[in-house]
Symmetry: C2
Subunit: 693 residues, 2 copies
């Protein structure tokens, strides 16, 4: 592979003096761009017509070149290719490494297929290394070697590009110019008759100039090898992959659930993600991830503890708020400053500034204010990165701010990303960033998507759980504002509105209990009915499946012991139906909202919430329900939705009754094929002062 | 409101001659940019110091202005504002319309709150219309009136912007310049003490220059009014909204399922979507949607029938394929050409081009080739838009192609979007597009996201269903390549690998049946066991809950009649457990893939697929399972996963046995709390020729 990417001598077969011909572009492209190109590359143009091209002697055949030749680049018409290849092999010192630019093989069918077969045989017979056919060639930008018919001038940099599409390469070269990154190696795979992505990965990972491997693939030549290789290589260098051409394949007939669960695109996702690579589906993400990984110290970021996350610094409220929302909705964590840190930072900044996260420096911020913040942040542990939003206000010194940020990226342990938004300001920022070795991001969302994909800024699952638990304890302390009605109270209201609530009894003693069991019939469910115990399950405040009188009595005694002074309720345990949640919520802006969703274990996994806002009628409920996934499920289970609609409508009416009702949770209402729905649990939350109800 | 956006006379209170002061910027900004400004606006600078500013006479108080004044713009320090407002009201001809630029009210607390209270009282007392305080002012670009301290020169155009953040406005003005769109009206809402978004919506919808209403909101002043208004207005003009500040609110304690299902952000989504508005969460989408709606004939697109969709035209394979994948993954429909159309188009294009969708014009395409395609497309019914991808190849005439596309947008019934990718080419394209009244999109994904959000290009649900049905009939015709083993055959293999498959019996006659019922015990399930009937349910090939011998016998007779010659199997009907699907699939690139997922009605709604690819061991299965949502659910239900892991491992071994096994579908395997899992149905798909097994 060394001789393909860094040959000492190359024959350009099909070299041409005719402007615009590939054979001519090749000869022009291979000229040194730097006068002091390290490589002492010898070039042998080959063309039966002979003469001279661009001052170089032309050989009429590779057989005429007396010296050793490391590499041949073939750009003759397809029908002559195999003959030329054979000539390469026939030489006294055979040319074993060959790049075939020419198209007209397998991809055109017919004659092409025959040529493909012939070429394959030659490769095998003479043990050749062939890149292509039907490719753009290679570029070794670090060594100033361009053996392709892409652009002549390629910016040098750390990206090693492997592409199954030539046009993808030319587009990327163009994008790189404006987005300010450069390449080490570029290779066009073409038809992958011999050399494929696996071979190139081996070379790229060893190449010292290549920091990041970026690939565009349409199919994978040897999946198992690729998987093994990727696992190893992704630990050494970041590998970013666009795998295109999934949609055609997903259209293939699918004969089973398994088939539909494991479509091609899902398999490649699994392979790449498990191996530690980064898979994207579009060019924008591809480019932004390259920008992040190429110029920022992402590798230095370590997950050290819980107090960690990103910091947003901004000179504009709006964009700061949008970015905060986005970090959250993409599951990235924001750093939480403690009070000491906030006070210390506040002292250094003007009165009107805000030192939460985002840190708002106010519209008149100049470079010094960004500097103060970054100086302060650099010693705080747990900061994983700074998103520095700069909007062009009256006197915002874009250039100085971006230059400063570039400096900080050199000395800080975490990356600081400039996000200069809008027009001229952005153009200026891009230029300044590029010449200072970093990149600008015009839109926060593009950077955030890149960070998410790279995955180092994600909220660890444990932290999420911790937060959720923290919230729970908050809730209890807020009891003074919100009161949960007892089941008995809720039941009363529900009955008034003709909601099918499951009747309950409230035994005070064992005599009551016996009496009630007879009325309700076994099996029995027992619950604590207390506004103080919201999550009954957590505290063993629910007992189900009590199918003998003895069991009910035993549980009753335990409840009396475990929950002294609390009301205990019993209900007949109805047959499980389809679990649905109904709910009401009073939104501060829009008033009463009606919610319908699947209940049970599925609540957590169904990404559908049916919401109705505003003037809600049964017709509207039904219309909206009919457009939902839930409806499909109900239909499949042959459950009529009219009864559900009716109950939902009544629930809404109940909510309309009293402005103090801020949340109602019907969880669940059981639906049945041949029976009316039954509400099994019912909670009403009201606003009120402590002590009142 | 007319007097705020288009006054005949305005007092600038706090006007200043000091460079850089807001009072000075205001005076400079209000000067006409066009010499022939329609508005004969009279300007009265007010400052206690008097003298002259920018050649205008300065009044020491509004009380000194003898003439009528439509509007006052106040930019004095906060502590003087209320006094100045009162002076406006005290005048012989009171000034009722006031824009308060000054900050220092509710947003700073303390003193500010007192001022807020005072100002509120004044508004009520004198019936004033007040925009602000703490705002940037307004701009009426159509009338060349800039009463803000944003930039002086605003490009005129069709966007009416309403923003609760001043910085958002300055950013948008800057972005608009480079992205080539302009504004009609701009208003900064500030603290919304009096005039709010609802009032402005009324004015914007009537403004003839405003084609699109674009809003940035952090909170909504009167939700119900907003909802009603939006419903009406979104039918007249497109309304695009960024609602920011959701993340803070979602952090509020949530006391019930309902609460968590209906977070603030979900409510606003519902409201805007139901009303026909477009809600986005980031600036990039905001801008790209504006670009699409502003300059392309989106409104003319109508959903007419089934044969409709988007067309992708490209001069580069790779980007074409990526874009095709994206349209599909975003649920946008591609137009399907029929054979006649393909043949006709092919005749007009070079041999190597491809006339599917995408239409690939090949790298050497010049403007004429794009022209040929667009000419041809313009008469085909059902095309809803063209995505014209242009990558900069050796001789691609970017300017001509974009100019052509602009021309076609004038005469075609659908929009054609130029997507010129990369660097200089993109810069050129943006300029050319802008000066020809359209916009360029650098990355296909950005345009596709915009189209998706706008929603006119979505695949209608009915079409999706049709396609799915089409696929089903395809499947049957492919039977010659894939064979479904009988349950009996599958059962045998499963037993060999110690899979807990539910035993089945295959009664040939009623005597067998009676005998088997005794062995298996009631209730009984009966199924047709035929490779010809894959979806048994569809054809009544399954009977469940047969709980008397008589019922089993009756069904048996029906089966014999309905499925003559087919094997019938019976099983004991086990108690329903947690339904899980296990599966194997042989991927062409990566070999055997193991899939684990939730079964039953939840398969369709759980967006999780647990896939294992490569060398699969029980340890790996368990590790991956433990990271899944499914695991959380199993844990909650107190189901031990070891047995599931073991069965999955055995299934994998079964797949390793025989390369011809290409799919295995264990659907479902029931899991229980205190019992071993049971496989209830088991399908093996093998590749084979018709007739063999």
């Amino acid at each position: 592979m060394q001789k393909i990417f860094n040959p000492q001598s190359v024959a350009i077969i099909g070299a041409s003096e005719k402007e615009g011909k590939i054979g001519n572009i090749l000869i022009k492209n291979i000229k040194p761009k730097n006068k002091n190109r390290k490589s002492k590359l010898k070039i042998f143009p080959v063309n039966p017509k002979g003469r001279k091209i661009e001052g170089l002697k032309v050989y009429s055949s590779v057989l005429d070149i007396a010296e050793e030749v490391d590499l041949a680049v073939i750009a003759v018409p397809a029908k002559f290719v195999n003959q030329v290849v054979e000539e390469c092999a026939w030489r006294e010192t055979p040319i074993k490494n060959i790049i075939i630019i020419s198209a007209g093989f397998g991809e055109i069918g017919g004659e092409g297929l025959k040529r493909k077969k012939g070429l394959k045989d030659l490769i095998k017979k003479y043990k050749l290394n062939v890149l292509g056919p039907n490719c753009l060639g290679i570029i070794n930008a670090s060594e100033d070697i361009n053996l392709s018919f892409a652009k002549a001038n390629i910016t040098e940099g750390g990206i090693g590009l492997i592409s199954q599409s030539g046009a993808f390469i030319t587009s990327m070269i163009d994008v790189a110019e404006s987005e300010q990154f450069g390449f080490s190696l570029i290779a066009s795979l073409g038809n992958k008759l011999n050399i494929n992505e696996n071979d190139l990965l081996d070379y790229y990972v060893k190449d010292p100039e290549t920091k990041i491997i970026a690939m565009y693939l349409e199919n994978i030549s040897d999946g198992k090898k690729f998987q093994t290789k990727l696992k190893r290589i992704a630990k050494i260098k970041p590998v970013i992959i666009i795998k295109a051409g999934n949609s055609q394949k997903t259209k293939e007939a699918i004969q089973s659930h398994t088939g539909s669960l494991a479509g091609e695109s899902v398999v490649i996702q699994t392979v790449v993600k498990d191996a530690g690579g980064i898979l994207v589906d579009n060019l924008e993400d591809f480019v932004s991830i390259i920008k992040v990984l190429n110029n920022f110290k992402v590798s230095k970021i370590q997950t050290t503890g819980k107090k960690e996350g990103l910091v947003i610094v901004t000179n504009a409220g709006g964009p700061g708020v949008i970015t905060t929302d986005l970090t959250e909705s993409y599951g990235l964590k924001l750093f939480e400053f403690n009070k000491k840190e906030r006070v210390a930072l506040k002292k250094k900044l003007p009165e009107e500034s805000s030192v939460n996260n985002p840190i708002d420096l106010i519209g008149d911020a100049r470079e010094d204010r960004y500097q103060i913040v970054l100086d302060y942040l650099k010693d705080i542990k747990g900061i994983k990165g700074v998103l520095a939003i700069v909007t062009p206000q009256a006197q915002t010194p874009i250039k100085k701010i971006v230059e400063n940020i570039a400096e900080y990226n050199k000395k800080m342990p975490f990356p600081t990303f400039p996000i200069v938004i809008g027009g001229e300001a952005k153009d200026e920022a891009e230029k300044v960033a590029g010449s200072n070795g970093i990149n600008n991001f015009e839109f926060p969302v593009v950077l955030i998507r890149a960070l998410k994909k790279i995955g180092k800024w994600n909220i660890p699952a444990t932290v999420l759980v911790k937060q959720a638990k923290g919230e729970k304890s908050d809730r209890i302390s807020r009891q003074e504002y919100r009161t949960l009605l007892s089941y008995k109270e809720s039941e009363k209201l529900a009955k008034e509105f003709k909601l099918n609530i499951l009747p309950a009894k409230y035994p005070d003693n064992e005599d009551d209990l016996k009496n009630f069991i007879k009325k309700l019939k076994l099996p029995i469910v027992m619950k604590v009915d207390s506004p103080n115990i919201i999550h009954k399950n957590v505290k063993n405040g629910v007992a189900v499946g009590l199918n003998t009188v003895k069991k009910v009595e035993e549980e009753f005694r335990r409840f009396q012991k475990d929950f002294p002074g609390e009301k205990i309720l019993i209900q007949h345990q109805v047959e499980n139906g389809m679990e649905i949640i109904l709910g009401l919520k009073r939104d501060t802006s829009f008033g009463l909202v009606l919610i319908i969703g699947l209940g049970g274990i599925t609540t957590e996994i169904l990404d559908e919430k049916i919401l109705l806002v505003g003037n809600i009628t049964n017709v509207k409920i039904k219309d909206k329900l009919k457009k939902s996934k839930l409806y499909k499920i109900l239909k499949k289970e042959k459950i009529n939705i009219d009864k559900l609609v009716e109950q939902a409508g009544r629930l809404f009416e109940l909510g309309m009754l009293d402005e103090k009702i801020i949340e109602v949770d019907v969880n669940p209402i059981f639906l049945y094929k041949h029976k009316d729905p039954v509400i099994v649990d019912f909670k009403i939350m009201k606003i009120s002062q402590r002590g009142s109800s």
